[in-house]
C-alpha cells in the first residue's frame, strides 16, 4: 500500500536531552494513524519534526514525498496541522483568523469554506469574537477548522479531541473516519486510548522517545484485545 508519511531513524536532541530516539514508521494512504504515548514520550516532538517545526537531529522523514529537512514550508503547505495547546492570535476574530490562515495558505473561496466549518462545528455565533475571548473548546474548534479549511491530503493532529464536549467529540470522530474514506490520511497523536481504538486504523506506541510497537487496530479487535491493555503491557515491560 502506498505510504504518505515515512519516518526513518528520527532522532531529536534538545541539548543533553534525547527527546526522540531513532523512530521509524510509515503511514499508509487513506488511514487514520495514531501515535500513542504517555505525556513526555516524544509525540509532539515527532509531529514537530514531521512538519518541519523543529530541526531533525538525525534520520529523515517525508510527507507526501517531501522531506521537511529539504523544504519545511512546502511540507506545511501540503498538509493541515492542529498543534497541541495552540492559541490563535489574540486580537483577530474567529473569521479573521480563518481568513489569515487562508491567505497564508493561498486558499481561494475562504469565506464559503469558513462558513461550512462554522456551521459544522456549531460556533457560527462566535465568528466575530476575538480569539482571546473564546473558550478553550471553541479555540479547539477554530484550530480544527483552520487545519481542514482546504481539505488537505494529510492532516496531522496533536490531541484531536482535547477540550471538546462529548457531542462534538462524536462529530469529530465520525468526520475523521469519513475523511479517510475519500483517500485522505489523518495522523493523530493522543494518550486517550479509547478514542484511538475507536478511530484509528493503525497505531504506534511510543515510550520515552523510542518506538515500542506498531500494529493495526483490526488485528487487535480480531484478538478481542483492548488497546489500553496492550499499551500498559508494553509500557510496563519497557
Amino acid at each position: 500500500m502506498e505510504s504518505v508519511i515515512e519516518a526513518q531513524g528520527l532522532t531529536k536532541d534538545y541539548g543533553e536531552l534525547r527527546a526522540v530516539d531513532g523512530v521509524s514508521f510509515s503511514v499508509p494512504k487513506g488511514a487514520v494513524f495514531g501515535l500513542l504515548g504517555q505525556n513526555g514520550s516524544g509525540k509532539t516532538t515527532i509531529i514537530k519534526m514531521l512538519t518541519g517545526q523543529v530541526k531533525i537531529t538525525e534520520g529523515d522523514c517525508s510527507i507526501l514525498g517531501v522531506s521537511p529537512k529539504v523544504d519545511p514550508v512546502r511540507v506545511r503547505s501540503l498538509i493541515g496541522i492542529i498543534p497541541e495547546q495552540e492559541t490563535p492570535p489574540s486580537f483577530l476574530t474567529s473569521i479573521e483568523y480563518l481568513q489569515f490562515v487562508g491567505r497564508i495558505r493561498g486558499i481561494h473561496g475562504i469565506d464559503e469554506k469558513a462558513e461550512f466549518w462554522f456551521d459544522f462545528l456549531d460556533f457560527a455565533d462566535k465568528k466575530d469574537v476575538l480569539c482571546k475571548d473564546l473558550s478553550r473548546g471553541t479555540r479547539q474548534k477554530l484550530m480544527f477548522a483552520q487545519a481542514f479549511l482546504d481539505s488537505p491530503e494529510v492532516a496531522v493532529i496533536d490531541e484531536p479531541l482535547i477540550n471538546l464536549d462529548p457531542v462534538m467529540q462524536r462529530k469529530v470522530k465520525d468526520f475523521l473516519k469519513s475523511y479517510t474514506k475519500e483517500g485522505r490520511t489523518v495522523f493523530i497523536s493522543t494518550h486517550i486510548l479509547e478514542n484511538a481504538q475507536e478511530i484509528c486504523d493503525s497505531f504506534a506506541v511510543l515510550h520515552k522517545g523510542s518506538l515500542l510497537y506498531t500494529g493495526s487496530v483490526a488485528e487487535l479487535n480480531e484478538k478481542g484485545k483492548k488497546l489500553d491493555d496492550l499499551f500498559l503491557e508494553l509500557v510496563n515491560r519497557a
Binding site: K48, T51, Q53, V54, K55, V73, R74, R76, S77, I81, I82, P83, Q85, E86, T87, P88, P89, S90, F91, L92, T93, I95, E96, Q99, F100, V101, R103, I104, R105, G106, I107, H108, K126, D128, V129, L130, K132, D133
Partner: protein, 507 residues
C-alpha cells in the same frame, strides 16, 4: 507568607534565567556595575558640557521609567505570558488556586519586585558609582544617597503604573483624564516658572532629594509613594475580564489597502499574487516569480494582522505614548538646557540620533506580545515573518518622522528636519538590523542578556557617535548616516538565513 515571597523571587529569577541563560543573566548586574564605574570617570568631562542637575534628573527618570515597565509587566504579566508562551502565568495570578487573597499576593509581589530590581539594576549601578567616586573627587555622600533616591524613583514609577492601571480597570476615560491633567500641570508649571529643570525636579522628586537633600523632602517623596500605593492595593484587580469582544472583520479590506502601498507592494501585480495563490505557488513547478508573489501575499497578511493587533490591543497608542513620546520628549527637554554650549541644529541632531535609537525599539512592539509557535505550523518561513515585521516597522516610522518635524518647528530649525529624519531613520534601521541579527523575533526577551546588551552597544554606539560628530560639523554631513544602509543590508540578509536555519528557542 514568607514562602510566597521566596517563591515569587525564585519565579522571577527562573523566568529571566530561562529566557536569557543563567550566565548571561547573572552577568547583567556586573555589566551595569561596569558601565556605572566607567561612566563615573566621565563625569568630570561631561559636567563641562552637561548640567549635573540634568544628569541627576535623567538617571532618576530612567529608574522611574524602569519602575513603570516592571509594574506594567506585573499587571499585564498573565496576558503577556499567555500571548507569548501559549499557557503561562505568574504566582501573582494564583489567588484562585491558593488560599490567599489577591491583595496579599499583590503586596508580596511589590516587595519582591522592589528587592529583585534593586539587586538587578539599582545596587550594581550605585556600587559602580560608589567605588569610582573617590577616584574622581566625588563625595561618597552622593552614591550613598543614590541608593535611596534611585529606589524612590523606581518605586514612584511602579506605584504610578499600579494606580493608573487601577483607574484604567474602572474607567478608560478617567485614565485619559488623569494623564491629560498631569501633562497640563507640567506645562502650566513650566509656563509659570519658565524653568524646565525646576519643573522636572519637582515632578521627579527623588532627583531633587539627590541634589538638595532634606528630610522633609524625603518624607514627602515617601508619602507620594504611599499615597499612590494604598488606593492601588485596594483597587487592585489583576483579572479584568471584560467579556467577549466582537468586531467586524477587517483583515481582508486592510490587506487590500496595504497592497496598494508602493513600498510594500514592491511593484507586484495584485492579480498575479492572487493567481499564484490558486496555482499553488509553492509547487516545485512554480516559477521563481510565483514564489515571490506567494511570499508577498503571506507577508502582507502578517502585516495586516499586526496592524489589527496594534489597534485592538491598545499597544499602538500606549507604546507610542509611553515607549516613544515620553522618553524622547524627556530627552528633548533635558537636552534643551544644552543651548548654552550647543547650537540648536546640533541639539536637534542629538535628538535625531536618540529618536532613531528609540524608534528602533518599535520592532519590539510588534514582537513582544506574540507567540511565534502560532506561525510555526503554517507554511511560512521565519524570515518572511521578520520581513513582514520590518515592513510594519517601516510604516510605523511615521511616528518619529512627525515627532522630529514637530520638534524642528518648535525649536526653529525646520530647515534641518529632512537631515534629521534621514539621520534618525538610518540609525533606527541599523539598530533594528543589529537587533534582528542577534535576537530574531525576540528582541525584548534579550533585555537582560549581558552578551546581547554588550554586542548591541558595541555595534551601535561607535558609528552613531562618529556620525553625530560629523553632523555637528555641518548639518548636511548627517546624510553620511546613509552609509549605515550597507551594514544594515548585510546584517539583515545574514539574519534571514540564520533564523530560517535555527529552531526558534523555547517556543
Amino acid at each position: 507568607m514568607f514562602e510566597i515571597f521566596v517563591c515569587m523571587l525564585k519565579e522571577e529569577w527562573r523566568m529571566h534565567s530561562t529566557l536569557f541563560g543563567n550566565l548571561n543573566f547573572a552577568l547583567f548586574p556586573i555589566l551595569i556595575f561596569g558601565m556605572a564605574f566607567m561612566g563615573t570617570f566621565l563625569i568630570p568631562f561631561t559636567s563641562r558640557l552637561m548640567d549635573v542637575n540634568m544628569l541627576a534628573v535623567s538617571i532618576h527618570s530612567m529608574y522611574c521609567i524602569m519602575g513603570l515597565m516592571v509594574g506594567s509587566f506585573g499587571i499585564m504579566g498573565k496576558e503577556m505570558m499567555n500571548r507569548r508562551f501559549g499557557q503561562g502565568s505568574l504566582l501573582i495570578h494564583s489567588a484562585r488556586s491558593l488560599p490567599i487573597s489577591e491583595r496579599r499576593l499583590f503586596g508580596n509581589f511589590v516587595v519582591k519586585d522592589t528587592l529583585y530590581y534593586f539587586m538587578l539594576w539599582i545596587l550594581p549601578f550605585c556600587l559602580g558609582f560608589l567605588i569610582a567616586s573617590p577616584f574622581n573627587a566625588i563625595s561618597i555622600h552622593y552614591p550613598l544617597l543614590m541608593f535611596v533616591t534611585a529606589s524612590l524613583a523606581f518605586l514612584t514609577g511602579m506605584c504610578t503604573v499600579f494606580i493608573l492601571s487601577s483607574v484604567y480597570s474602572r474607567s478608560r476615560a478617567a485614565l485619559y483624564a488623569v494623564i491629560i491633567l498631569a501633562f497640563a500641570a507640567f506645562v502650566a508649571l513650566y509656563l509659570i516658572s519658565g524653568d524646565i529643570m525646576r519643573v522636572m525636579r519637582l515632578f521627579m522628586l527623588p532627583s531633587e532629594i539627590f541634589l538638595n537633600f532634606s528630610f522633609p523632602l524625603l518624607i514627602i517623596s515617601a508619602a507620594v509613594i504611599i499615597v499612590l500605593f494604598i488606593p492601588a492595593i485596594f483597587l487592585f484587580s489583576p483579572e479584568t475580564h471584560a467579556g467577549e469582544k466582537r468586531y467586524v472583520a477587517v483583515l481582508c479590506p486592510l490587506y487590500d489597502r496595504l497592497s496598494r502601498l508602493p513600498f510594500i507592494r514592491g511593484g507586484i501585480d495584485a492579480e498575479k499574487v492572487s493567481a499564484s495563490a490558486t496555482s499553488g505557488a509553492s509547487a516545485p513547478a512554480a516559477s521563481e516569480k510565483d514564489f515571490v508573489y506567494a511570499a508577498a501575499q503571506k507577508e502582507l497578511t502578517i502585516i495586516a494582522k499586526d496592524f489589527i493587533d496594534l489597534h485592538r490591543s491598545g499597544i499602538g497608542i500606549g507604546q507610542t505614548l509611553f515607549s516613544f513620546v515620553l522618553p524622547v520628549g524627556l530627552i528633548w527637554l533635558v537636552l534643551s538646557v544644552l543651548s548654552d554650549v550647543l547650537r540648536p541644529e546640533q541639539i536637534f541632531m542629538v535628538i535625531a540620533a536618540v529618536t532613531g535609537i528609540i524608534a528602533s525599539t518599535m520592532y519590539t512592539w510588534l514582537t513582544e506580545f506574540e507567540s511565534f509557535s502560532a506561525y510555526l505550523f503554517l507554511p511560512v518561513k521565519v524570515s518572511s515573518i521578520i520581513r513582514a515585521k520590518i515592513m510594519t516597522f517601516s510604516v510605523l516610522h511615521v511616528v518619529p518622522a512627525v515627532f522630529l518635524i514637530v520638534i524642528a518647528a518648535v525649536t526653529g530649525v525646520l530647515a534641518s528636519a529632512v537631515f534629521a529624519i534621514v539621520f534618525a531613520f538610518s540609525v533606527s534601521y541599523y539598530a533594528l538590523a543589529i537587533m534582528v541579527r542577534y535576537s530574531g523575533l525576540s528582541p525584548s526577551l534579550m533585555l537582560y542578556s549581558a552578551s546581547f546588551f554588550l554586542r548591541y552597544s558595541l555595534f551601535l554606539m561607535p558609528p552613531v557617535i562618529i556620525l553625530l560628530g560629523l553632523a555637528f560639523i555641518a548639518t548636511g554631513f548627517s546624510l553620511a548616516a546613509l552609509i549605515l544602509i550597507i551594514p544594515s543590508y548585510f546584517l539583515l540578509k545574514g539574519s534571514f538565513e540564520k533564523w530560517d536555519r535555527e529552531d526558534l528557542p523555547g517556543f
